[in-house]
């Protein structure tokens, strides 16, 4: 019964989306955005959010009680599974994750309909229309080819279980995080298309779109950070980024969103980069769709591809071509109607942000090329592989100049500035970079990229807080704090990557109980190996005692796990975390002579990679709060009769004021 309620709610929501499409269209056609039908657009969007929430709750419910008469539950769940993984099983599969996507999208649409009143009504109606158009495609996909509530004629005695790799708290929340990011970009896309169609690319439009971009970007950042950490501890070999197609699929929307975030700020503050911002809005969502397509269709081979199906791939491809192809064509037809906007000097905040945008776009282009190139050659029956040795240096060509600009840019004034004004902080940062570079080059024999990474990380760490210099800190807008912290996060993450790459130490050994093992500053021994059991697995667990530089002995318990539904072996690594790095221990198989295969890595500062990612997200969060609070304040002031629209952004104009 519950499943049928969910399905009914979904069909109703789809019908409402159709209504919203028509109503929004009628509104966008009318000169003032007001048509009889148009009044229905907002309620339709709001009600859709409620219905989708009902559908999603229904799915959670059937998973929670393991209702095996529902096909999806029988295929993906098991009555013996821990409760939290029963719930996460609801979206740990294709149908459920698409329902999650649609639900988040409906919620976002409902929210816009409910609270957004700043845009001209016509643009607003066009936005809701575009949102409904995108939504309808996904409803169709869900209802026609991936019904999550399908019943089975014969109820099986037990479910199939969930892929053990997905039975992990980090991964349980990783896909939803990315999806929220993707959906946020779909909202930005709807805004961009609406602004394009109604010829309303204004700073006000940018301010309306910005929180959605920021929000999406925060979730993407968290998603990628979490995904990287998951790969790190779950795959058992200590790698944290493989330039794997699925990883790239999540990186590309992030790169586009990062560029969009910065260009939308320029548009909001200075009314410049109009065309470019719209273009990025389209590209950011394209990359989300493309990512979903690549992951779901199984068109590229990847270790992360858990749910592949070529037929569904065709459906997503059709949607991709419809939305993105359509948007690009509209854009090409309409772009000339948007004027370029305000002008600015090369040495200015806008100039720096343009460099940032170009760099990010170029890296995006390279990642896209490297990811899809094997697919292209395969069409000609040639198989090539593109991996880290290509992506690392080639993206560095654009990344390193961006780092230089990132250190200087936030210090510059809008519109026009002189280098001589900021020569002191620039000289200080340059001195730091060069000192670190020389020191590292003399002391260590490490690769040039790691060296540059360390030096730029040090410089950026200092430079990221330079905009706060001489400011009254308690009066500094939250958005500025957010920017500084996010930029500092980049420095932290970069430092972690460079340090781990340069100074990681590896030890592979076959040990008997009692043997001593050394890796980097750590000394340890294998104390015992015993069999342990969990709810749906058994494992061989190695008990190790390890000490850092002769300090107290710490315990580590890496396991080699055997799951039985479905049958699979996984490696549960043990991590000993210190402030200055992580010891990574994995246990492998037992050799014929009775010795155990141990793999140990001492990874200096590796945790900084994910701390950095979290700092970036935190910075985004602060900026989001700052912007939303600023918007609310402005709205209140407008209601009281003030007319100071640029209050918030104007405060950025003169950083040292």
């Amino acid at each position: 019964m519950i499943a049928e309620i969910g399905l009914a709610a979904l069909w109703l929501a789809a019908a409402l989306a159709a209504l919203q499409l028509l109503a929004g269209f009628a509104g966008a056609r009318a000169a003032d955005g007001k048509a009889e039908l148009a009044a229905l657009a907002r309620p339709a969007a709001t009600l859709q959010a409620v219905l989708c929430a009902v559908a999603f709750l229904a799915l959670l419910y059937v998973f929670a009680i393991t209702d095996l008469s529902v096909r999806l539950v029988a295929v993906n769940s098991h009555s013996m599974k821990p409760f939290i993984f029963k719930l996460s099983g609801a979206w740990g599969n294709h149908e459920g994750s698409m329902l999650l996507w649609v639900t988040v999208m409906a919620m976002a649409g409902g929210l816009i309909a409910l609270i957004e009143r700043r845009l001209p009504e016509r643009t607003m109606m066009a936005t809701l229309c575009a949102q409904a158009f995108v939504g309808l495609g996904f409803y169709a996909f869900l209802l026609l080819s991936s019904n999550p509530f399908e019943r089975l004629a014969e109820v099986p005695a037990e479910g199939n279980g969930l892929n053990p790799l997905l039975q992990d708290i980090g991964l349980a929340f990783h896909p939803p995080t990315l999806y929220i990011g993707y959906v946020g970009l779909s909202v930005a896309f709807s805004f961009a298309v609406a602004a394009l169609l109604t010829r309303n690319v204004t700073p006000e439009f940018a301010r309306v779109m910005r929180p959605w971009v920021l929000g999406a970007w925060i979730f993407l950042t968290i998603g990628i950070t979490a995904g990287s950490y998951w790969a790190y501890y779950e795959l058992g070999w200590g790698g944290w980024w493989f330039w794997d197609p699925v990883e790239n699929a999540s990186l590309m929307p992030w790169l586009a969103a990062t560029a969009l975030l910065h260009s939308v700020s320029v548009l909001a503050a200075r009314d410049a980069l109009r065309t470019w911002t719209i273009m990025l809005g389209v590209i950011a969502f394209s990359m989300s769709m493309l990512g979903t397509f690549l992951v779901r269709s199984g068109i590229l081979t990847s270790v992360h591809a858990f749910a592949v199906d070529p037929e569904r791939g065709s459906f997503i491809l059709a949607l991709l071509a419809l939305y993105i192809g359509g948007a690009l064509v509209i854009f090409a037809l309409r772009a000339h109607t948007i004027s370029e906007g305000e002008r600015f000097n090369l040495v200015s905040r806008e100039g720096a942000l343009v460099v940032n945008n170009i760099g990010l776009s170029a890296i995006l282009g390279i990642v896209l090329l490297g990811t899809l190139y094997p697919l292209l050659t395969e069409a000609f029956d040639v198989r090539v592989s593109v991996g880290p040795p290509y992506f690392n240096p080639v993206s560095a060509i654009f990344f390193l100049p961006m780092m230089v600009v990132l250190m200087v840019g936030p210090l510059l004034r809008w519109r026009r500035d002189e280098f001589s004004r900021i020569i002191k902080p620039v000289a200080l940062v340059a001195a730091i970079v060069i000192t670190v570079l020389i020191r590292v080059a003399i002391v260590n024999d490490i690769s040039i990229l790691s060296m540059l990474g360390l030096a730029f990380a040090a410089g950026l760490a200092v430079a990221s807080f330079a905009p706060l210099f001489k400011r009254a800190l308690h009066r500094t807008p939250l958005a500025i704090w957010g920017m500084c912290i996010a930029h500092f996060g980049i420095a932290v993450a970069l430092f972690g990557m460079a340090a781990d790459t340069a100074f990681q130490q590896e030890r592979l050994v076959a040990t008997s109980v009692g043997d001593v093992v050394e890796v980097g500053p750590w000394t340890g021994r294998l104390d015992s190996v015993k069999a342990v059991a969990g709810p749906n697995w058994t494992a061989m667990q190695a008990n190790m005692l390890l000490s850092y530089n002769g300090g107290p002995e710490l315990e580590a318990h890496p396991q080699s796990r055997n799951f039985w539904t479905p049958q699979m072996e996984t490696s549960e690594v043990a991590l000993l975390t210190r402030w200055n790095g992580q010891l990574y221990v994995a246990v492998g198989n037992q050799a014929e002579d009775g010795r155990w295969q141990l793999r140990l890595w001492w990874k200096p500062f590796v945790t900084f990679i994910w701390y950095g990612g979290l700092l970036i997200a935190l910075g985004g969060g602060l900026a989001l709060v700052g912007r939303v609070v600023g918007d609310l304040r402005r709205r209140r002031q407008a209601a009281e009769g003030f007319d100071d629209e640029d209050l918030d952004d104007a405060s950025e104009t003169v950083p040292t004021a």
Binding site: T301, L317, L320, A321, A332, A335, L375, A379
Partner: protein, 180 residues
């Protein structure tokens, strides 16, 4: 402005091309096997110990005897290898000489495997560390090569030999015999 429009149309065309590529690839059967780059090349040099007592070991020199022959890579631990056993026997009955390399395999396991699933092999060498597999450019087991009479690799069959593959392999053998 005109330049902008041209750029945008170029992007539209690129996107369309990309969608076309995706559509094409979706219709193609997904073939994840890695093909050998050694087709047409002479067999790499090797001289392998017998994989079990029942058959002599295998050396690359066993192939250059003027007759085209088959070289099968298998392992007793490999389930698909059991599936293709009847087809190998059919090939042998049709007159093909089949040599084999047992990959990462223990003699007693090989003996038991051949006892259960039949032994159509003339010679069986053992490769405990996949060295010859790499030298051949083979992606795994089971895999079957057609070697012509001069010791050149003429054809590679990846994966299980199904009943449909038997005539294909016989034909390739014949072609290797007449071609050289």
């Amino acid at each position: 402005m005109r330049q902008l429009r041209i750029t945008l149309w170029i992007i539209v065309v690129l996107a369309a091309g990309l969608f076309g590529l995706f559509a094409y690839q979706l219709t193609q059967p997904k073939d994840d096997s890695v093909r050998s780059a050694m087709i047409g090349e002479p067999l790499p040099q090797f001289d392998l110990e017998p994989a079990f007592e029942g058959r002599p070991g295998l050396a690359s020199t066993d192939f250059a005897n003027g007759e085209p022959q088959l070289l099968n890579l298998f392992g007793s631990w490999c389930i698909p290898c059991r599936v293709e056993a009847p087809q190998l026997e059919a090939l042998e009955r049709a007159g093909a000489t089949i040599h084999a390399i047992a990959l990462r395999d223990q003699p007693q396991d090989v003996a038991r495997f051949l006892e259960i699933y039949g032994n159509p092999f003339t010679r069986i060498g053992r490769d405990d560390i996949s060295e010859i597999q790499f030298a051949l450019g083979a992606s795994g087991v089971p895999e079957t090569f057609v070697i012509d009479g001069s010791g050149r690799i003429a054809y590679q069959h990846i994966g299980v030999i199904t009943e449909r593959d038997v005539p294909i392999l016989l034909q390739e053998l014949q072609r290797a015999g007449s071609g050289s």
